[in-house]
């Protein structure tokens, strides 16, 4: 062990960064009874046949040597077929969701984008594609270029999203500064609390809403190989638990993900319908979209 092992210039009270302030939940004033706001994230992703794999393989990216038609087409199934089952289930439950979209999909899936907008869902920016991962090895100019390119693709469709989710929810140290520079006010990459957190950036605050990876369908149904019933039970349990916590302590927020090529498969739809119906029945739970959750939170 070198003699400098215990040294770290940022060894101090609070976090070792200034992105947001340390806040211990026990020390917050009780603010109950409050409501639980749930947001549902439906990412629309483009997986090229030719991923660079930099700086890591995006979850769901090609697996076998080129041309991996198997994984290209199973991912594409989500954007062609699976997403429509999710849209129907949301409609039947009377719920709106947020759809983070890779900019490169906007042209390819134009009828889908129109359908999502008509149904009143929120459309968020989700970078250029799954092969455009933001990471600290990018120069500032290159990373800004990714965001600029994303916004250009959106503005061609008359869309000006203020909510952002990074491809693979990955960032560089400077991503939040760039996001506010380009006009974003809400981010779905982080999950450090049960309430929105205002991040400090060079250009003003960026609201981060808790997006639970532990409830992500890719994570539970694919990586951890759980059944759709186990997945559904855990979603409903989370919402129930947090509704009770909101009642006792004050407003709470949670988000979970429905990946079209995972949750949208025929054999999983019954579980999605069951989940949404159970959530819809609960009092003091509102399923909403990030932009609205943010503005309500700021007005509080």
């Amino acid at each position: 062990m070198s003699s400098s092992y215990p040294d770290y210039p940022l060894r101090r009270y609070g976090n070792d960064h200034d992105r947001y302030d340390w806040s211990y939940s026990a020390l917050r004033p009780k603010d109950g009874p409050g409501r639980l706001d749930v947001f549902i994230v439906v990412p629309l992703e483009f997986f090229p046949l030719t991923p660079s794999g930099k700086p890591f393989k995006h979850p769901g990216a090609m697996v076998t040597p080129y041309p991996d038609l198997r994984h290209f087409s199973t991912r594409d199934y989500g954007n062609r077929v699976g997403v429509f089952r999710i849209l129907d289930a949301l409609r039947d439950a009377g719920m709106r969701a947020v759809f983070p979209v890779n900019g490169m999909l906007l042209d390819r899936c134009q009828p889908l984008i129109e359908r999502i907008a008509e149904a009143g869902h929120e459309i968020a920016a989700h970078g250029v594609s799954t092969d455009h991962i933001h990471f600290d090895g990018l120069s500032e100019a290159d990373e800004a270029g990714y965001i600029d390119q994303t916004l250009e693709l959106f503005s061609k469709k008359g869309l000006q999203p203020k909510t952002w989710m990074s491809p693979a929810r990955n960032e560089s140290y400077r991503t939040p500064d760039l996001l506010t520079k380009f006009g974003f006010d809400t981010c779905l990459d982080w999950e450090m609390d049960q309430v929105p957190v205002a991040m400090n950036t060079e250009n003003g605050p960026l609201t981060c809403l808790p997006n639970h990876f532990e409830l992500n369908d890719f994570n539970l149904l694919f990586t951890k190989r759980q059944s759709e019933d186990e997945w559904s039970d855990q979603l409903v349990e989370s919402v129930n638990y947090l509704a009770a916590e909101a009642e006792a302590y004050g407003p709470r927020v949670m988000g979970f993900t429905l990946t079209p090529y995972i949750a949208g498969l025929p054999f999983r739809i019954h579980a999605l319908r069951k989940t949404l119906a159970a959530i819809e029945k609960l009092n003091k739970v509102r399923v909403s979209v990030p932009s609205l959750i943010r503005s309500d939170w700021l007005q509080k």
């Binding site: 090229p48 046949l49 041309p67 062609r80 429509f84 390819r108 359908r115 694919f222």
Partner: protein, 317 residues
């Protein structure tokens, strides 16, 4: 120059498609695809993929698959007989030479054969066009010679392709490809010649995926199949859907699995009023004759055609 998007088919949203009705007003076309495969004991080395994860020889891997050939297929055949289901065999063509007895049992049952390459341990990566043509010509001629059948379907061995594969099978007058998993309805493929349908092969409910990749139990597999079927049957009311059960006897015919699997067949065959039980070529042929033009016209009408053919023309998303 590799392509980011294969451009083998156009984006075509599942909603608001013109209606498909299967023969006799059926809502769902159901087919079952036993994979009858030969995995070599001493496969040639391939720079891009090692056939056996442990290297050659892989005793458990090889003998488990051989169990499928020696014991498993018969169990599955007898089970399908019980429910009057005909298989569409995804065939490694070399099995015609290795185990002709299995082929005879399929022929006796009037099962269909389609090509799943020559050996499942030989991949298409890096093949020249001439090599790929030779493989296809071998497949067509070998099956025809031994069974009298002209094969019409293709599933690349171990799901490995070149940029030419789909064009070549179309040129050799194949009717359907099981190589793409983009939909629960058939769709025309954009090939230079021919009339090739992308036929849903339901890879996500393949026994290899459910038992293997998703590590699910025998009874869970039956649940998955029943739920998959129920959903597609419900949707078939709006426009006809396709469901396939791709199987591997070395997995599904294991003694702890075959009876739980039977529960799924019981459930599915109880819906015979609404389900067309068919083979791959029957479904693809019916689609080509009755719905091919309708699909092409709808994609055109909605402005979704990107033009060109696979691995050419427009390449961006």
């Amino acid at each position: 120059m590799p392509f980011a998007d294969p451009n083998l088919y156009d984006y075509w949203p599942y909603e608001d498609r013109p209606k498909i009705v299967w023969p006799d007003g059926k809502k769902l076309a159901f087919w079952i695809a036993p994979n009858i495969e030969y995995y070599e004991f001493q496969p040639p080395a391939n720079a891009q993929r090692q056939p056996w994860p442990r290297g050659n020889p892989d005793i458990i891997g090889f003998s488990q698959r051989d169990y499928g050939n020696r014991v498993g297929h018969l169990r599955l055949m007898e089970l399908l007989d019980k429910y009057s289901l005909r298989g569409s065999v995804s065939l490694n063509i070399a099995l015609l030479d290795h185990h002709p007895e299995i082929i005879e049992d399929c022929v006796k049952r009037n099962w269909e054969f389609f090509s799943h390459g020559i050996y499942n341990t030989r991949y298409s990566y890096g093949m020249t066009e001439a090599e790929e043509r030779a493989v296809l010509e071998d497949c067509i001629a070998s099956v025809e010679k031994q069974t009298g059948q002209r094969i019409r379907g293709y599933l690349a061995p171990a799901l490995t392709h070149t940029e030419d594969t789909i064009d070549l099978i179309a040129e050799y007058d194949f009717w359907y490809s099981c190589d793409l998993f983009q939909d629960d309805q058939p769709q025309p493929l954009k090939t230079k010649t021919g009339k090739l349908v992308s036929l849903p092969y339901s890879l996500e409910v393949n026994d290899v995926i459910t038992y293997g990749s998703l590590s699910q139990s025998a009874s869970r597999y039956a649940d998955v199949l029943k739920r998959h079927f129920d959903q597609l049957l419900e949707e078939g009311e709006k426009s006809g859907t396709v469901m396939c059960i791709p199987l591997h006897a070395y997995l599904v015919s294991q003694p702890h699995r075959i009876r739980p699997f039977e529960e799924a067949l019981k459930h599915i065959t109880a819906h015979s009023d609404d389900v067309w039980f068919a083979t791959g070529a029957e479904i693809a042929g019916y689609y080509r004759d009755n719905y091919w033009d309708q699909t092409v016209a709808d994609i055109e009408r909605r402005g979704l055609s990107t033009g060109g053919t696979g691995f050419s023309g427009q390449v961006t998303a």
